[in-house]
């Protein structure tokens, strides 16, 4: 650390750390620890998903046809693009390009809102067709080609639990990215002098993106277990 920078450093350096390197290292290790807990958090749901899908392949295939793979696909592209923007925002933060960072963070926020908007359209569609599990679950039997409706309900139970939890993470992401953007707007030294806070928010956002990358094919792009190209049982 250059000695001249010490005055600035002191402003953002917390009492318990020796220097900025130690502080930043701790933040990064802390963030990865947090992401590990998130992986375990979602992991349990993915395990539940694979267990039921293994048991009810045909019923779940028929249930999944109610999901719109095009809307999901748009959202996938949308999130991938936002992740790209976020990665470049971190780069601009390293270059201390304030406007560059703000533009890209703004782009990420727009993508996040678009994602939630599309999710809203999908959710309300399911709700109108009485596909939300629970007492109101009353789907058109003909849509499911003789599938066991109980298993269909189980499918939608997990669909709403997993995409809902992911949606909550997007919402939290909007808040965190919004707070970060505000700090850039105000020119707070903690973000302008040091790219680590921006990078940490970026890591979170990439995580949210990755979870969706798994959710999309698992829910929207199921192969037909009895179809010719599936490799499944006939």
């Amino acid at each position: 650390m250059a000695h001249a920078a010490h005055g600035d450093e002191f402003e953002v350096l917390k009492f318990q750390y020796e220097d900025m390197d130690q502080q930043n290292d701790s933040y990064i290790v802390g963030m990865w620890c947090f992401l590990v807990t998130e992986i375990m958090f979602f992991g349990m749901l993915f395990l539940t998903y694979s267990f039921y899908r293994m048991n009810y392949q045909n019923d779940w295939f028929k249930a999944h046809e109610q999901l719109d793979w095009k809307l999901g696909g748009i959202n996938t592209a949308n999130l991938l693009f936002s992740s790209f923007l976020m990665a470049t925002a971190v780069r601009q933060a390293q270059l201390k390009d304030r406007m560059g960072v703000l533009l890209r963070l703004g782009g990420v926020l727009v993508c996040a809102f678009v994602f939630l908007g599309i999710k809203y359209i999908e959710y309300s569609g399911k709700y109108e067709h009485h596909l939300f599990p629970g007492p109101g679950f009353a789907p058109e039997v003909s849509h499911f080609h003789g599938a066991n409706l109980n298993h269909v309900q189980l499918f939608f139970g997990l669909y709403f639990a997993m995409t809902g939890l992911h949606g909550v993470h997007v919402l939290v992401g909007i808040l965190v990215i919004g707070a970060l953007a505000m700090m850039w707007v105000k020119g707070k030294k903690i973000v302008t002098e040091d790219y680590i806070p921006t990078e940490l928010v970026g890591l979170y956002w990439h995580f949210v993106d990755i979870v969706w990358i798994f959710l999309y094919p698992l829910f929207y792009l199921m192969p037909n277990p009895s179809g010719p190209n599936s490799g499944g049982s006939h």
Partner: protein, 549 residues
């Protein structure tokens, strides 16, 4: 050095007296004290519920209370003790207080997160207490579905919310420990100079990070299923309740090690300090902590030997469960070897520590009984299991907590308590504990099922239950007495000085109680951990001279 700007006359207790300065503190030592008061309170509540359970079992007829009341009592006892006491006591009180001191740091890596973890803990406690006041839950602390998710008419959701919040409190504590151990060590404090207390808490932190999120989401799903009828486990729809058990025990078996690994750390410190001797097999104790943390995640299936799990699964889980005995035995063996030929000082903390070893030994040796697949079919859900996990979790965790609290009390408060009373009380707890739980092994072997509030079908169980209830009264006294002499010491106790036990470790180099910034100088570690040289050298001389060891 420019950071050391507080008044040198002040320590963490005198630096600010307002309620605000306590409730908004980011000082790990104050947060530890907040935790100490809260866990003591919840321990009292859990103990009351236990007393109710034991009282009911005095007679075989079971006519002192309704079945439903009894179910709510043992649920309250289990939930409060596990989630609000055992999982929290040592890491959040002693770990919070000592971990930064032991590695020469000024605080944990994330002090504000640490304060948040206490508030989450209090929110958890509030939810669980409110649920109890509103009628209680009757599912048992394991919340097995579908009873908990579809049929029980009690306050399950609020209790689960409490457990969920408690989980987050645990995650933030674990994160703090892991990051602090990695990044906050003073210059010269290498990994193999870390006190074993820190190794124990590091391993605990890893379990908290990997296990707790799984149970958090599992229980959240039960709340979803109860409130929104969002099916996840519901067998009516083809869901699998055993899946819940897998998820639940994937956390809850390793959670046993969250309760016991910190205690191992405490005991390692005490054994070496009061044997005046370098701990035997330092590396083995450190690695066995990590081994326990790792293996702990691979054994959950032994809770499901009598469920729908396949025989082959059970055999494998049985085998891995046996493996866990190895690192546990390494520890007990090494503590014994540490005492061997040491200048053993039988102080209060040491007697608590030796009591811990006795109880943990019984608990540990009864583990393989239950890990044996065939044997477990006979013992599953009997009082044998109850006795086993009380020996391990309560004998381990509470004895370890008491031992550690006595050992570091002079450091935390700057005062000495009456060591003679402490010694006698340690023995009283040991006797009371064995009288409470040993008869339960026998009555469990005879077939007494757990969670029954009557046994008129088998009046021959009565004497064992009466012995057990008598023991629990002694145990209750044994747990109450320290509160009196420890609080008395705060006002009338002698000044402790920096290092009343003449022990090694950075925490004994700073003043008692420690100043807000922990050390008044820059810490640089130059000597090895547990450098209790005189005895070791003497032994080496003996060996060199060809004397009989």
């Amino acid at each position: 050095m420019e950071h050391f700007h507080t008044n040198p006359e002040l320590n963490y207790l005198t630096n600010g007296h307002s309620l605000r300065s306590w409730l908004l503190t980011e000082d790990h030592k104050r947060i530890a004290m907040l935790y100490l008061m809260s866990v003591t309170f919840f321990f009292f509540i859990g103990g009351l519920a236990a007393a109710g359970v034991r009282y009911e079992l005095m007679s075989p007829a079971g006519n002192m209370m309704e079945s439903e009341t009894y179910n709510k009592l043992f649920t309250a006892h289990g939930t409060v003790m596990v989630f609000l006491f055992l999982l929290v006591a040592i890491p959040a009180v002693l770990g919070n207080f000592l971990l930064p001191l032991m590695i020469g740091a000024r605080d944990l890596a994330f002090p504000r997160l640490n304060l948040l973890s206490w508030y989450l803990y209090m929110a958890a406690g509030t939810c669980i207490t409110l649920a109890m006041l509103g009628g209680g839950a009757d599912t048992g602390w394991t919340f097995y579905t579908p009873y908990s998710s579809m049929y029980s008419n009690s306050n399950v959701s609020l209790t689960l919310l409490g457990v969920f919040l408690g989980g987050f409190s645990s995650i933030t504590t674990g994160m703090n420990f892991v990051v602090t151990t990695h990044k906050m060590r003073a210059p010269g404090m290498t990994w193999f100079r870390l006190p074993l207390f820190v190794w124990g808490h590091y391993a605990t932190g890893v379990i908290m990070l990997l296990g707790t999120p799984v149970v958090a989401i599992t229980l959240l799903c039960v709340i979803f299923e109860r409130t929104f009828q969002l099916p996840i486990y519901s067998p009516e729809l083809g869901g699998d309740p055993v899946l819940f058990q897998h998820m639940f025990w994937f956390y809850s078996h390793p959670a046993v090690y969250i309760m016991i690994l910190p205690a191992f750390g405490v005991i390692s410190e005490i054994m070496t300090a009061f044997s005046r001797k370098r701990v035997f097999g330092y590396h083995m104790i450190a690695f066995s902590s990590l081994a326990i943390a790792f293996l702990g995640f691979l054994v959950w299936g032994h809770h499901m030997f009598v469920s729908s799990q396949s025989m082959y699964q059970s055999v494998i889980f049985s085998l891995i469960t046996f493996l866990l005995a190895v690192p546990s035995a390494i520890k007990v063996w090494n503590w014994t070897a540490t005492m061997y030929k040491g200048n053993v000082v039988l102080s209060g903390p040491m007697i608590y520590g030796i009591g811990f070893q006795g109880l943990f030994l019984v608990g540990g040796l009864t583990g393989p009984f239950l890990a044996s697949y065939g044997n477990d079919v006979h013992l599953s859900a009997t009082y044998f299991v109850v006795a086993h996990f009380h020996y391990v979790m309560v004998g381990g965790s509470i004895m370890g907590f008491l031992a550690g609290l006595h050992f570091w009390w002079p450091k935390m408060t700057g005062r000495l308590y009456n060591d003679t009373i402490a010694k006698w009380n340690a023995m009283l707890v040991f006797v009371g504990f064995n009288l409470t739980f040993f008869p339960q092994f026998i009555v469990g072997w005879m077939g007494m099922p757990r969670r029954y509030h009557y046994y008129y079908f088998a009046p021959e169980f009565t004497p064992y239950h009466i012995l057990s209830t008598m023991g629990s009264s002694i145990l209750g006294i044994g747990f109450a007495v320290p509160a009196f002499y420890l609080i008395h010491s705060l006002f009338k106790g002698e000044k402790a000085g920096d290092n009343p036990w003449n022990a090694h470790g950075l925490e004994w180099n700073t003043s008692s109680p420690p100043p807000t910034e922990n050390f008044r100088y820059k810490v640089i570690v130059t000597d090895d951990v547990y450098d209790y040289d005189p005895v070791a050298e003497h032994e080496n001389d003996m060996l060199a001279a060809g004397g009989k060891a």
